[in-house]
Amino acid sequence: MLEATLQSLKRLLIAFAIAITVGTTLGFLFARSRFLDDTLGFLVIALQTIPSIAWLPFAIIWFGLTDTSVIFITTLGATWTMAVAARTGIKNIPPIYLKAAQTMGTGMGWRMFSQVMIPAAFPHLITGLRTAWAFAWRALVAGELIAKGVGLGQILQDGRNLGDTSLMLCIVIIIAVLGTVSDHFCFKRMEDKILVRYGLK
């Protein structure tokens, strides 16, 4: 069971990392380019409304019943939320921060992005991270139910095959506990710390 939990967490973390990177980048592009926002931005909103499990049949055709499929749909589950949060966050940065940074020589490239935009948008990004994390969990368990390999969803499926309700309930509790604990000790803490530091609380 520990093995299954670790395997699930590994998939989750990989997918989450990809989702954050892609999502933030997309959000940044949407916030900076009106054209992209009007075209792709709309598409992202549309994609966000699709339950990521709906992509699993596609993933199975493309990648087979493998880890990659599960990671793929987990990533899809989290990316769009992250992109929308990052877009809002970056759009809401007071323009004066950007002006001030420019006069101090950041330019408009990577340094501006990493040293000013990301920290300035952090309160929004954290909210995005929390939602993305929850979405990723959902997609992950749903994906694992169907795909092969060791994982919590797979044990859940085994439980069904064996008619072992207690095992299934046990897994559900593990999922809930992991989700809450990670949210509480990682994201909530980070959020509280940042809100205090930014003087928002």
């Binding site: 004066i96 921060y97 002006k99 001030a100 940074a101 420019q102 006069t103 101090m104 020589g105 950041t106 340094r111 040293q115 000013v116 920290p119 300035a120 952090f122 940042i194 530091r197 930014y198 003087g199």
Partner: protein
């Protein structure tokens, strides 16, 4: 005569308003500023004084004419002319020390060195005790001091100040005036200072440039010849203040008419003076 450090020649700038019509913010403005000079741009709101400062800062581009700094045409913002904004614009995620060191970090100065420079500047604005605090823990005046320290840490040739003290209370402002004058005398920076406060312009500057509104043009320049450090009670300053007030009267009239309609007038108000209505009533 020395070559001016800031040279603004025949600059025009207009913005597109919401209705789609053009709004001329600056029309044929020319101004040159010598190295080490303290120049104030003074005028009613909407006269384009902040726009002019933004042009020098490189945050906006002129439609026509040229802006050169140190002989080079301004194409974008640069660390040789740092802006102190009306709202301090300190980064809330950095401590005062890191905020002040931010510009040096962009220049590629090493950590130890930039911290020592930053501490020095923080000391110069009397904030040593607050170096490790975050901006939201400071008062308005302290934030503005930190912003000044941040600008000075870059050691720019030119300091551009866009109504830096207008959001502060009167007492804090007076103290900051004195401190800014002291810093200016010690460092010999060129300062371009935007304000709508006549007293502030007169007490701080060598030269006050009065701007007129709609379209924004330079109306008149006043040299302020008074001893440094400036003495608030200097009668010379009062005299200058009155003169500037007079030259601004027409501009205020224009602004008032724009906002309240044509029937409202500052100068003709005397006609409805109650004293005039009661002439002879005591007979």
């Amino acid at each position: 005569m020395q070559h001016p450090i800031i040279e603004i020649q025949h600059v025009n700038k207009s913005f597109i308003q919401r209705g789609g019509s053009d709004f001329t913010a600056l029309q044929n403005v020319s101004l040159s500023i010598q190295k080490g000079e303290f120049v104030s741009l003074l005028g009613p709101s909407g006269c384009g004084k902040s726009t002019l400062l933004n042009l020098v800062a490189g945050l906006e581009k002129a439609d026509a004419g040229s802006v050169t700094v140190g002989g080079k045409t301004v194409t974008g913002p640069g660390p040789d002319r740092v802006v102190v904004f009306q709202e301090h614009a300190l980064f809330p995620w950095l401590t005062v020390l890191d905020n002040v060191a931010f510009g040096l970090k962009q220049k590629g100065v090493g950590k130890a060195e930039r911290e020592s420079i930053a501490r020095e500047q923080i000391k110069a604005v009397h904030l040593t005790k607050f170096a490790d605090r975050y901006p939201h823990e400071l008062s308005g005046g302290m934030k503005q001091r930190a912003a000044i320290a941040r600008a000075l840490a870059m050691d720019p040739e030119i300091l551009l100040m866009d109504e830096p003290f207008s959001a502060l209370d009167e007492q804090t402002r007076l103290i900051l005036h004195r401190d800014l004058e002291e810093i200016w005398m010690q460092t010999g920076k060129t300062i371009l200072f935007v304000t709508h406060n006549i007293r502030e312009a007169v007490t701080l500057s060598d030269r006050v440039v009065v701007m007129s509104t709609r379209p924004g043009e330079i109306k008149k320049e006043f040299m302020i010849q008074a001893t440094r450090p400036r003495d608030k009670a200097d009668s010379n300053l009062y005299h200058m203040e009155n003169q500037i007030m007079q030259s601004l009267a027409d501009e205020l009239e224009k602004v008032v008419k724009e906002e309240m309609g044509d029937e409202y007038s500052l100068q003709e108000k005397r006609l409805s003076d109650p004293a005039a209505d009661h002439v002879g009533s005591g007979i």
